[in-house]
């Protein structure tokens, strides 16, 4: 029984990593209705920028805020320079663009900061949280940050003019344009916000997994899985999805005899696909009705 609770707790703490990343995935999906394969690398790059700032002597929170700003601007710049020209190109061509961006960011990070792992500081400390050794204060802090982000995003999309305009621009672009929304800039804004949220995710994840150019490789797969499981249109679903994937993966690894440990990722993914077959829009996503 103790192992069971421990694995659930360990699952929640890894789940927080996935949840963080899944939020960034949902953010970009809201803006461009697609998964961005370069999202993890963008987050990694942002994290390296914050690390570099700290190396230069900038204090943690100042570096945090600066990185948010740089990432936001960077996200917008990437959209304007690289993806706006592809707006009329087929979706699959855009996906190829994401992959190209992925390669570029990964390669540059490796050249600038090399591949040795780097320690990344946490503002929350890493002592046991509330007496439990399984969740450290950092992981508790990460869960707190994720929930805070979630609330902010909810408020943004539900109650602000820009947030509503963004949703409109993504789901019904023609009508949005008719009511005077600049849909093109809404997409750029979405990229900026996704990059900023990604940078938060990166800065939260790095203390746990260590900072290096390939640190997001695994995280992104799980982030996608979490976002899709929760429903790509729902930030709330993405966060829940993150925790579910984390917990389920651990339980499968512990309790499925024989192959459970070796195959925990495939088993987790198979479960997600099963969920999708039953609920094609994810657990909390809006069902989409197609019209001819």
């Amino acid at each position: 029984m103790e192992l069971f609770t421990n694995q659930i707790l360990a699952g929640i703490s890894t789940g927080a990593i996935y949840a963080c990343m899944a939020l960034a995935v949902v953010m970009i999906y809201q803006a461009i209705e697609h998964l961005n394969f370069a999202q993890g690398e963008m987050a990694m790059f942002s994290t390296f920028i914050s690390w570099q700032l700290m190396q230069w002597g900038v204090p943690y929170w100042a570096a945090f805020v600066l990185t948010l700003g740089i990432s936001f601007a960077g996200g917008i710049a990437i959209e304007r320079l690289l993806f706006k020209p592809l707006a009329k190109a087929p979706i699959l061509t855009n996906v190829a663009g994401f992959i190209a961006l992925y390669a570029i960011l990964n390669s540059f990070a490796g050249l600038i900061w090399d591949f040795t792992i780097k320690q990344y500081p946490t503002p929350f400390g890493s002592s046991p949280f509330l007496g439990s050794q399984l969740i450290s204060t950092h992981q508790a802090g990460m869960i707190g940050v994720t929930v805070l982000l979630l609330v902010l995003l909810y408020l943004f999309f539900q109650f602000t003019r820009v947030g509503l305009a963004m949703r409109a621009a993504a789901s019904v672009p023609e009508s949005a344009r008719l009511v005077g929304i600049n849909t093109s800039w809404m997409i750029a804004l979405g990229w900026g916000m996704a990059a900023a949220i990604g940078s938060i995710a990166g800065m939260m994840i790095a203390p746990v997994v260590f900072l290096e150019p390939n640190m997001m490789l695994g995280v992104l797969i799980y982030g996608f899985a979490a976002a899709v499981l929760g429903g790509l249109t729902s930030p709330f679903g993405a966060v829940i999805g993150g925790f579910l994937v984390g917990i389920f993966e651990n339980l499968a690894g512990t309790y499925i005899p024989g192959v459970g440990n070796e195959l925990k990722l495939p088993i987790a993914l198979a479960l997600i696909i099963t969920v999708l077959v039953v609920k094609p829009a994810g657990l909390f996503g809006r069902p989409i009705v197609k019209r001819v």
Binding site: Q7, V209, G218, T254
Partner: protein
């Protein structure tokens, strides 16, 4: 057919060139195969400069820098090294393509230090069929020491199995009632190592009470640590690559699990693993080493390391001396140069293998004092000695004798 013809023409033309370039007396000694000439020796290499294992690309860059140094100092017996290194992205099919390009298009004398067990397995048969030396491969799998079936393939670093046996011996001697838990990477490295450990424990393999494998695609290995701790083990053997080794050290400190902790040599780098994981979390960790650590202050006055650092300053200023791969590349390149020097003017592939298989007490600058490279025609494992060490303060402290990890004992 065509290839044979090409080869004939190539051989003929080299002879002609050799003839034209030499006068009378020296002719008798100078012998060349494809890839070697009076002014140049072409050496091929395959590295994962891109893709998931790109961290190891540093090895190739260091080697290129080292050969530049050799060339700047006049080359080997007057011949410049032309180091041709290609990227395989850690993909076996690409490695085959690159190996063929090196042999058939660039016409290298030999393929030096290609990285990765899968990639080397993929090109081994081809290179042996072609009788092209596959020299000092950058992987610790045991299978490279097989001169009978693969006389053209040779390893360099200590085998994973040999290293694991050393730990097994140590545990049986120091802690005969140990309950061992093992975390290993689910690939050739982890499996080979686990086998060495079990073979080393022999009849007492039941000392292993828990084993867990992880995939490199997992973001963290925290849950494995939690599970291994629940097994009640009092020894933890970490057969992990640097990132995961550091995660394990950190997580164990967080959950206050303090078994006897052994880290494989792959992840014993002070700068690359221990420091990021935290010195305070790493006290008392055991490992074994064959090379000096670039981040370790105890070697600051070591003549070999001074040479190494001087080389970095002059020829490879961007390199990170904390990165174990840099030390590795330097040592491997130095061994290669040594073999080519021994070859003298007889630069045939056969002689290269002959010289590589008769190294005696050769000690590259970066190996630990007392550890030497020895090979014979029946022993293709250049480095098979290690010394155990314990982490204390901010550096490794070597202890005990230099142990030979030969598989026979």
């Amino acid at each position: 057919m065509r290839s044979r013809l090409n080869l004939l023409i190539a051989a003929f033309s080299t002879t002609v060139i050799a003839f034209a370039a030499t006068t009378g007396s020296a002719l008798a000694q100078k012998k060349y195969d494809t890839g070697a000439a009076d002014t140049e020796i072409r050496i091929g290499n395959i590295m994962p400069y891109s893709g998931p294992a790109s961290a190891y690309g540093v090895i190739g860059k260091t080697e290129a820098a080292y050969f530049n140094k050799i060339n700047a100092e006049g080359g080997i017996n007057g011949r410049k090294i032309n180091f041709i290194s290609y990227d395989d992205g850690y993909s076996p099919p690409k490695a085959v393509e690159q190996a063929r390009k090196l042999v058939e298009s660039d016409e290298v004398l030999l393929v030096f230090n290609p990285l990765g067990t899968p990639s080397n397995s993929a090109i081994q048969k081809y290179l042996n069929a072609r009788k092209v030396p596959q020299l000092f491969v950058a992987t610790g799998a045991t299978k490279w020491n097989d001169p009978k079936d693969f006389p053209w393939t040779m390893g360099w670093q200590p085998g994973y199995q040999s290293e694991a046996r050393i730990y097994a011996k140590y545990l049986m001697r120091e802690k005969p009632d140990a309950k061992i838990s093992v975390l290993y990477q689910n690939d050739d490295f982890g499996k080979d190592y686990l086998k060495g450990l079990k073979d080393g424990l022999g009849a007492k393999a039941s000392m292993i009470v828990a084993e867990e494998s992880y995939e490199t695609s997992e973001p963290t290995i925290d849950n494995h640590i939690v599970k291994l701790r629940a097994s009640g083990a009092d020894v933890f053997i970490s057969i992990t690559t640097p990132k995961f080794a550091a995660q394990a050290i950190k997580k164990m400190a967080e959950i206050e699990w303090k078994p006897l902790h052994i880290v494989s040599n792959v992840s014993a780098s002070v700068g690359g693993v221990i420091k990021p994981a935290g010195f305070e979390n790493s006290q008392g960790i055991l490992s074994a080493a064959y090379a000096k650590d670039g981040a370790d202050p105890q070697w600051d006055n070591d003549p070999g390391m001074k040479k190494f650092l001087a080389f970095l300053a002059k020829y490879d200023a961007d390199a990170n001396k904390l990165d174990g791969s840099v030390v590795y590349g330097y040592g491997a390149a130095q061994t290669m140069v040594k073999v080519l020097e021994l070859c003298g003017d007889n630069l045939t592939r056969e002689n290269v293998m002959k010289q590589a298989a008769s190294l005696k007490d050769f000690a590259p600058d970066t190996l630990l004092p007392g550890i030497k490279i020895n090979t014979t025609p029946t022993d293709f494992a250049p480095i098979n000695q290690l010394q155990m060490m314990r982490f204390k303060g901010e550096k490794w402290e070597l202890f005990g004798d230099i142990i030979s990890g030969e598989l026979s004992n």
